[in-house]
């Protein structure tokens, strides 16, 4: 049986897990408290001066101590934009996973528990969804969306659209995982016992079977946050994600990309490093969690 104490002691005994956990914690805190911590507010046009554009990091010749990591082409401090951008990336990642989880868990539970044609129908639907790449769907929908509305409307709703699209496009991963766990669980006797007690199927599915399938759900949730952040970054890089004035990490990378060869590498480099650190930390934590929660890989002590 897994206890919180056991998980904690495993966590503290694993340097990789601690490292990934610390990186993630720092990035999350940095994003949450960005308005307090950031040297400038990159959304506030009053604080931005075009004269400050393309300044190198502070320690290099021509740098300014106000802008530790230099400035981008519009004179925003790279450090400040990263702090705000990480928040937007995390928000989209987490939001998309919530959408994925709600859709995927519901449909996976129903498919696994009902079986028969319901299962066949939902899983074929999942197959179809999986055969269309997330990026392709997102590009089509976002292209239509950005063409159909003016830039201001687009900027206002881009974050919701990204959450919705990445969420809807990736539900089969949750659905398949949950379904396969449900198939394993539903023939166990405690389910028979719950039916004998006279509980309705809805209560058996959500109250009895779901809690027994949460382990894999927890693991893929973590990995899927990383995946969603990457997808969002890719879309933003293609110019279909967050608008330039509310940049995510992806849009920051894109905004500096054109200037790499003119020498202003820092505009792209630092957001990219943060993105890599964020995704790597999430993936490492996901892997660690999978190992810890897998009873077959568990060691004797907990």
């Amino acid at each position: 049986m897994i206890t919180w104490r056991g998980v904690l002691s495993r966590f503290l005994g694993d340097p990789v897990a601690i490292g990934a956990g610390v990186v993630l914690l720092v990035l999350v805190l940095m994003a949450v408290f960005a308005p307090l911590l950031a040297p400038q507010n990159p959304y506030d046009l009053m604080q931005i001066d075009i004269m400050d554009s393309e300044m190198p990091p502070a320690w290099r010749a021509g740098g300014d101590e106000r802008f530790l990591l230099g400035t981008d082409t519009q004179g925003r401090g790279v450090l400040s934009t990263i702090m705000y951008g990480t928040g937007i990336s995390l928000l989209i990642g987490a939001g998309a996973v919530v959408v994925q989880a709600v859709l995927g868990i519901t449909l996976g539970l129903i498919a696994g528990y009902r079986g028969g044609w319901v299962d066949a129908f939902l899983m074929r639907l999942a197959d179809i969804q999986m055969s269309l790449s997330t990026l392709m769907i997102a590009i089509i929908v976002l292209a239509i969306f950005s063409a159909g509305f003016d830039a201001n409307t687009y900027a206002d709703y881009a974050i919701f659209m990204l959450i919705l699209i990445i969420g809807v496009a990736e539900w089969p991963k949750f659905a398949r995982t949950v379904r396969s766990s449900v198939l394993g669980e539903k023939n166990k006797e405690y389910v028979d016992a719950a039916r004998v007690i006279g509980l309705p199927p809805r209560r058996i599915m959500w109250g009895h079977i779901l809690p027994n399938t949460l382990t894999p759900v927890l693991v893929i949730s973590t990995i899927q946050v990383a995946e969603a952040i990457m997808t969002e970054a890719a879309l933003s890089f293609l110019g279909l994600g967050m608008p330039v004035d509310r940049p995510s990490l992806g849009s920051l990378i894109r905004s500096g990309f054109e200037f790499i060869f003119s020498g202003s590498w820092w505009i792209t480099f630092y957001p990219a490093m943060v993105l890599i650190a964020l995704v790597l930390a999430l993936n490492l934590l996901g892997d660690w969690m999978r190992d810890v929660l897998n009873p077959k890989l568990r060691r004797g002590e907990d």
Partner: protein
């Protein structure tokens, strides 16, 4: 009028595209209020199938293909899913074999008990909690209060089965179906649990269907016995009569196979052969290939349960006593 009456119950499972095989081949059963019936047979005889069929819970793709299950004058097979749910766990409870697996591992004992109550009664949380603790005390669980927050893995096998019994009793049912309730427990605990079930049934005048392959247990607890073989009832009657003077050769074989029937140092008796799978039943009486008293008629015709036994050449009391 009996409380529960099962008439000519057939349960069938599909085999291949069009065929069906029968797991129960016409079972009759009757039970009055407060009566305790033992259902005895080898593994695969259809005992558990009978229990699930009574609650109309035969797992897909199986189905009740024929027969009636009359509970208080109402055919349970005619009820809608919603209507029968009001009977399951409320008026008819079930106790399963292995308490390790019948309690949900991730929910506390309290959650699982309260849920049962809330499924059938409209009561407040506090009242439900009070009732649950009361039932836990009734099944002699020490420090019942704190057990409400315990998870199943924190309890021993015996305690867990007591919890299962407490859950079965929560709604004051009229009938409890116990499917081998002691098989998965330590021998020392078995007698305790059986005594507890017997005591509770007597006190509350609850009817009991005890499914087991242990004739010894049945002899102590039940008033009537039904012997099942390959999906059919082969002998039925008052417990004492069947134990003392079995008439069907199969019952006789089962009784002879009890270790206490054999003297010290003697070989234990074994019924030759094994029960045929339901997909390959022999012609005539399903028991005839293993029977010592087989006649030509046994190979051709299926004997019906008349006069308490389904056999063409039943043992006489004198033979049974030897």
């Amino acid at each position: 009028m009996p409380m529960l009456e099962v008439r000519d119950l057939h349960v069938a499972f599909p085999q291949g595209k069009t065929d069906e095989v029968e797991a129960l081949r016409g079972v009759d059963l009757h039970l009055s209020k407060g009566e305790r019936l033992g259902v005895v047979g080898e593994s695969g005889a259809g005992k558990s199938m009978l229990a699930f069929a009574i609650l109309n819970l035969i797992a897909e793709p199986g189905r009740v293909s024929d027969g009636e299950i009359i509970f208080h004058g109402q055919n349970l097979l005619d009820l809608s899913e919603r209507e029968i749910r009001r009977i399951r766990g409320n008026r008819i409870s079930m106790i399963f074999q292995d308490p390790m697996v019948t309690l949900n591992p991730v929910l506390t004992i309290g959650t699982q008990m309260m849920e049962t109550l809330r499924a059938h009664r409209r009561i407040s949380d506090a009242e439900a909690r009070r009732l649950c603790i009361e039932k836990l005390k009734e099944v002699s669980i020490p420090s019942a209060d704190s057990r409400m927050e315990a998870y199943p893995h924190e309890l021993s096998g015996g305690l867990r089965q007591r919890v299962v019994i407490a859950i079965a009793l929560l709604t004051d049912p009229e009938l409890i179906i116990a499917d081998e309730p002691t098989t998965a427990l330590d021998v020392t605990i078995q007698a305790e649990i059986m005594a507890l079930i017997l005591k509770l049934c007597r006190e509350k005048d609850v009817a009991l269907i005890l499914i087991t392959h242990d004739l010894g247990v049945v002899a102590e607890v039940t008033e009537r016995i039904m012997i099942m073989y390959a999906g059919k009832c082969v002998e039925e009657g008052p417990t004492r009569q069947i134990i003392d003077a079995p008439r069907h050769p199969y019952t006789y074989g089962l009784l002879r196979a009890l270790p206490q029937k054999v003297g010290r140092g003697q070989r234990l008796y074994q019924i030759p052969g094994s029960m045929p799978p339901i997909t390959a039943l022999p012609s005539g009486c399903a028991y005839h290939p293993r029977c010592e008293r087989v006649t030509d008629r046994c190979r051709r015709e299926i004997p019906e349960l008349g006069d308490g036994t389904a056999c063409f050449s039943p043992l006489t009391p004198v033979e049974a006593a030897s």
